[in-house]
């Protein structure tokens, strides 16, 4: 069911109200429009599987590392034990953890694709996300293909403590090797991309795209607001604001995202004379 989250916010199983324009949207139509309001272009969140379907050449996605799941290295328990939380998230989402990775074609370019899943514990990054994203980067390096990561995350996963923090360095180490090898890495920021995810791989794409109005920030707006004890500037931490401040290449509406990525994949593809990708 693609509408796990929206359904909670809007009672009807058939209709969803657009929070921007107030329009009542027929859910089937909304899904057909990739969760974008047909009236005002408000971008609802999109599930990871739907995101993959939106981006890749039909039927070209081969998933990797499907069986990786979390351990409980800290023996962590808050309102409930971490393993229980993981099991419940798995049952609810049907996914093993908060990232789906695989090889795919986009406009006939082979790519490694990693998509974070906000529905799984807020897209939080623990060891599994770190391991899967690192493997995706390593596969891209081994196969000399570009890497795409679609972020959607509240940040690092607290339940794995400092091990979660270390995933930032682990992934950036792999991305550094990709960069040295001259391979392109595309970072796509979707609502929300915050915390340790933004402060690592999400901010260092050769090209950085964001979806309209996506929340893009390091510190929670609440923390930031308390720090200064006053109201934040209009549009603070929204994609368009971050674009103006120089950290995003383009804000791209979802309907154009696939073609836009394809354009740059083709532009960066080495010419016949240039052997650099085909080691």
């Amino acid at each position: 069911m693609p509408f796990g989250r929206q359904r909670k916010e809007f009672p009807s199983h058939l209709w969803t109200q657009c929070p921007t324009c107030g329009e009542m949207l027929f859910n089937k139509q909304l899904v057909r429009n990739h969760n974008v309001c047909t009236k005002c272009d408000h971008h609802f969140r999109l599930g990871a599987r739907e995101r993959i379907e939106l981006l890749v050449d039909k039927g070209s996605f081969t998933e990797h590392d499907t069986e990786l799941t979390s351990g409980d290295p800290l023996g962590f328990s808050d309102q409930k034990p971490y393993p229980v939380r993981i099991q419940q998230s798995q049952a609810k989402s049907g996914e093993k953890d908060a990232a789906i990775c695989g090889t795919a074609m986009i406009d006939e370019n082979a790519v490694e694709l990693a998509v974070m899943d906000f529905d799984f514990m807020g897209g939080s990054m623990g060891s599994v996300v770190g391991e899967k994203l690192t493997r995706a980067a390593e596969r891209a390096l081994a196969n000399r293909t570009p890497l795409l990561i679609v972020s959607s995350s509240g940040g690092a996963r607290m339940q794995e403590g400092t091990l979660s923090l270390m995933q930032m360095a682990k992934i950036l180490g792999a991305l550094h090797r990709l960069d040295e090898a001259g391979l392109p890495y595309f970072s796509i920021l979707t609502d929300p991309t915050t915390g340790g995810v933004l402060a690592s791989f999400a901010s260092l794409g050769d090209i950085i795209f964001a979806e309209p109005n996506a929340l893009v920030g390091f510190s929670g707006a609440r923390v930031t607001s308390e720090t200064i004890g006053e109201k934040l500037p209009k549009g603070f931490q929204r994609a368009e604001f971050v674009l103006e401040h120089g950290f995003i290449d383009q804000v791209v509406p979802r309907a154009q995202l696939r073609d836009r990525i394809a354009y740059f994949l083709n532009a960066f593809r080495p010419s016949a004379r240039d052997l650099r990708w085909s080691l």
Partner: protein, 322 residues
Amino acid sequence: MDVVDRLLGKKTTEGNGHLPEDAGLITDAASLTAQRTPWQSVQLARELRRPHSIEVIDGLFEKFQELHGDRGYRDDPAVVGGIAELDGVGPVVVVAQQRGSTTEENIARSFGMPYPEGYRKAIRLYRMAEKFHLPLVTLVDTPGAYPGPEAEERGQAEAIAKSIATMCGLQTPIVAIILGEGGSGGALALAVGDVVLALQNAIYSVISPEGAAAILWRSATEAERAANALKLAASDLLRLGIVDGLIPEPAGGAHTDPQATIGAIKSALIVQLDRLGRIPIADLLAARYERYRHIGVVVEPLPGAVPVAKKEPFWRRIMRPA
């Protein structure tokens, strides 16, 4: 045991197999006795009288010369860096976070919370170390990166990410030392190293105990509980393979005898830098990559699919539940 052996994954029976005996380091978590609770560590790590970076730099090195500025926006006083001479090693680049010992100093240095320009100054100095083949020493002591709106606007996340990535590929030896509080990404931006050490009562966490308590238990008063759960104390970090060794503190904590503490840091640093300096850069970078590559715990039903070396030394092992 020589670091070259460690690169080859060799083990010995002394210590945990990769850090030299003479460093006085604690490298075996099981050997730790009379430990404090994590919450006591949090309080010691934040102790105002605890020796902070500038005091440590003055004690560790001869002739420290501070270098200023990020070449883009501002000189951030929360990050201090420059060139210093270390006995028996020679000149090094040192980059540190500086929190204050007084309210005035804390305000001037934004409580040791760097702005993006602080991380960009750090990156500039990392590159200087690389250019002139000087080892890099970093001292970590921060509640975290500054969370204010100007810091967000000037790219706090980008600056941290770039700092981490730069350290991952930096072609010179790096020793990072967690002095006091290692707060989240804002600490990690200075803490990627070939060897990462921590003072015995230092902490290093993905989120502050107060922050975790507010989110997980919806109450800031549960900070102690969160500190326990987060496994943020130095002894936990050693067990988890996040730090390679602990520098012993005096019984009452570092602030009860700063000189002895700094002496312990100094002997550990000299030994590590001496050994790292003999390793060819390509090997060093490969080992640094592997160091972080293997941190984390994952469960995978088909172990054949895990692309990791079969024989790993303890400190590079992917921890797996039994």
